[in-house]
Amino acid sequence: MGQIVQETEPNLGTLLTIDVPQLVESMPADGSPKVEFSQRGEDWLFNFSFVSVSARFSAIGVGRTPYEAFAIGKQILERQVREWHRARKDGLSNEMFVAPSSPLTNIRHRPLTALIIDDDVDTAMALESIFRQLGCVTEMITRPELVHRKISSIRADLIVLDWRLGDKLLGGQAVERATRFIETFSDLRTIFEGYRPKVITYSALPYADIHFPETQYFDHVDHWQKPIDFSELAKRSAELVKAEQPQRGC
């Protein structure tokens, strides 16, 4: 990344009206971008996601100014777009390309990413709400058929995984599929080098009935047995987040 000249760097309005649209032009024409700039303390957060029929891109950039946050996110997104072009050229993917999230660099406080996986949308939303209010970046999956793609392509720090995903898929099977998916794409294997998201299984079944598969990519750290009321869920989630990021919340 080149030098950021603060005297002439674009302001937030310019970023939204000129720089972000220019970035989106490099992406598939049928896609929908979602852009958010927010400020947390002294840091600015640029949160970008893009969905089209053939690709998904997402990135978070954090910086001391909106432009610095955007510049970091843009760098990540440009790499994802290059990888998408390469995958299409090599014929590696006949399905939708889902770009892996990348580790944030050059920041002081990286928010944790919490991924909630539950086919029951009400349960998923309650958990998502808790982790979001704890300051985490959150992602939520309620469709069982997308689980293995998402958990292999989003660099989540914490994954809350419902064990019974619809009538045809167990959480363990989703982890097995994700493991195979990661091993198929070298760029995903690179992301997972030296990194293992912590998985909390969540089910009405007792822990003794949960058979988490052998995998080098995910770390099964706890099991929460349903039903759990909201205050207890919030308490356990807060303890989990605190253990992952002791300096401050998320």
Partner: protein
């Protein structure tokens, strides 16, 4: 039946959608009783057992668990009674929230 209703402040905005989905569950439960589809009855009971308490409705959890249990035993009469209890519970919740 105890009907403690204590909706977490953080989830209040989600309650209308939650109740709308419970209305759909209720309609589906009634259809499934007529079809004697005990597997799907059990699935819905299991779901209610899991999500009721997290929204501040332990009574939904209780009924869901009972439906799941009755479905495993194919006890149609018991399921029918529980579903009617569920209907009353949802109506009561709507009055309070």
């Amino acid at each position: 039946m105890p009907n403690n209703i204590s909706v977490p402040r953080e989830l209040k905005a989600y309650i209308p959608g939650f109740l709308e989905r419970r209305d759909k569950d209720l309609a589906q439960l009634r259809d499934l009783i007529a079809q004697e589809d005990y597997q799907l009855l059990g699935t819905i009971g299991h779901k209610l057992k899991g999500n009721g308490a997290s929204y501040g409705f332990p009574a939904i959890t209780e009924i869901g668990g009972a439906i799941e249990d009755a479905a495993s035993k194919k006890d149609k009469d018991r399921i029918f009674g529980l579903v009617e209890d569920f209907a009353e519970l949802i109506a009561e919740i709507k009055e309070h929230v």
